[in-house]
Amino acid sequence: LPTERSNLAGVRHIVLVLSGKGGVGKSTISTELALSLRHSGKKVGILDVDLCGPSIPRMFRVQNSDVHQCDSGWVPVFVDQDKSISLMSIGFLLEKPDDAVVWRGPKKNALIKQFVDDVAWGDLDFLIVDTPPGTSDEHISTVEALRPYKPLGAILVTTPQAVSVGDVRRELTFCKKTGLRVLGIVENMSGFVCPHCSECTNIFSKGGGEELAKHAGVTFLGCVPLDPQLSQSLEEGRDFIQEFPKSSAFPALARIAQHILDSSSQPSS
């Protein structure tokens, strides 16, 4: 049971970002959600439990940072002087960035438990938990370890096409089976507007995410289009929300953040 001294005692809301499918934009959405919430004046942490492919450190340009210890555990890595966004990822613990973490389930589970229990987050408005694709060790262990802290829920990310939606349907089942509330579904990479001629091409098809939300009876959080400025920002660890408010993905990302703020201010059921 969480005690007064628990490292998550000061965290007001926990939001998981899930998908059955890889490469749909979980880390992207986690990052942009954190940046948006920060711009609304919130203190945010991101816990990256993708042990094989940790993307979060680079998305904030802190991939060379180290993790230090304090009395209550590990100090998360602050993104800047402001200390309004803090991160934890296995990416910070590797000697060399190209080192593969070749672990079987039990070892992954042990580290995830440490990540949940031993990071001294302090006071946070939101802790976002970025996950790898699938419904396996990392997901089971993360949900189990977080259960005593009653997460606000999960955002599920998909791309429009059937191959992704098929996996996300399974992730919805995972949420149902583990008692995790689904805050909504995001349809990412939903269309590309050519910067030269403004023609919109549905490179990864269209509409699958919205249909799934309707079919499953969960909130549809909106379509985020493919946006080269967003991809570039993530590559360079820049603050897309601050620097590119007129870019095509901005309105959709802002809407997602607003929904999370609204969900968190409702009385808990």
């Binding site: 059955g20 499918k21 890889g22 490469g23 749909v24 880390s27 094989c52 492919g53 993307s55 680079r58 230090h68 210890q69 590990w74 613990l93 590797l94 960035p97 190209d98 080192d99 593969a100 973490v101 070749v102 672990w103 079987r104 389930g105 039990p106 070892k107 589970n109 042990a110 440490q114 790898p132 694709p133 699938g134 419904t135 396996s136 060790d137 997901h139 089971i140 791309t159 191959v163 098929g166 996996d167 399974r170 089942t173 995972f174 089976k177 590309f192 050519c194 030269h196 001629c197 023609e199 091409t201 549905n202 990864f204 098809s205 493919l226 080269p228 991809s231 570039q232 590559e235 360079e236």
Partner: protein, 278 residues
């Protein structure tokens, strides 16, 4: 330098290794006692069974990536079809992505089920000379989730190799989930008996993918799996209206080309984003 970790960062020596449970890497692993007692090792009779089954496979190619969503399944499916155009060759496509099996949908085989015969499980044939196996065929509903920890996933992968009646195969293509974990360690271990030509590694041009793919290349080196080469997928998009090119996933650090040069592996080619594939 790193803080006191409950688990060692070093890699698992392998559940069948002589060092299982005893290596420095085993410190803090919940399975340490089991491995030290030999409980997790492959039983030699099983290993012999696998060797026998795989005797009739001439060539095996693994399709890997550290990164999710780069096009492993897409590439595996197209490669399998491509190889099967030679009707004299027998091709098998094995999908070991247990949580997110994409192959049935991509091959137009959704809703198909696996049948059992005296000689084992029958693969699902999409052509006479192209057979497919995936956990997707074992699920009764599209909402069924396979919420399994590593050991159970490993068990199914072993069954796929041991119990499926593939017959004589010229090419076995193995589609994998993203990462460097149970599925990857297991398939390399179980295929140990077969002749594995190597791995084709899929990436997209941006650094967010490449940073994971470098890890995958290092994984291959660690387990002595030859890297046939790297494919850069989603490499540019040509607008169908104005024919101008956009880099949706920009190669900010030189793309796969630079990575291949630095790591001394072959770049097999670049495939653009094509809405007809999506």
């Amino acid at each position: 330098r790193a803080p006191a970790l409950g688990v060692s960062l070093a890699e698992c020596p392998g559940t069948s290794s002589a060092h299982a449970g005893r290596a420095a890497a085993c410190q803090g692993c919940p399975n340490q006692k089991l491995c030290a007692a030999g409980a997790a090792a492959t039983n030699p009779a099983e290993a012999a069974e696998l060797r026998e089954r795989l005797r009739s496979v001439k060539h095996t190619v693994l399709v890997l990536s550290g990164k999710g969503g780069v096009g492993k399944s897409t590439f595996s499916a197209l490669l399998a079809h491509g190889l099967a155009t030679d009707e004299t060759k027998q091709v098998a496509l094995l999908d070991i992505d247990i949580c997110g099996p994409s192959i049935p949908k991509m091959m137009g085989l959704e809703g198909e089920q696996v049948h059992q015969s005296g000689s084992g499980w029958s693969p699902v044939y999409v052509e006479e000379n192209l057979g497919v196996m995936s956990v997707g065929f074992l699920l009764s509903s599209p909402d069924d989730a396979v919420i399994w920890r590593g050991p159970k996933k490993n068990g199914l992968i072993k069954q796929f190799l041991r119990d499926v009646d593939w017959g004589e195969i010229d090419y076995l293509i193995v589609d994998t989930p993203p990462g460097t974990s149970d599925e990857h360690l297991s398939i390399v271990q179980y295929l140990g008996a077969a002749h594995v030509d190597g791995a084709v590694i899929i990436t997209t041009p941006q650094e967010v993918s490449l940073q994971d793919v470098r890890k995958e290349i290092n994984f291959c080196r660690k387990v002595k799996l030859p890297v046939i080469g790297v494919v850069e997928n989603m490499s540019g998009f040509i607008c169908p209206k104005c024919r101008n090119e956009s880099q949706i996933f920009p190669p900010t650090t030189g793309g796969a080309e630079m990575m291949c040069q630095n790591l001394n592996v072959s770049l097999l080619g670049k495939v653009p984003l094509d809405p007809q594939i999506g």
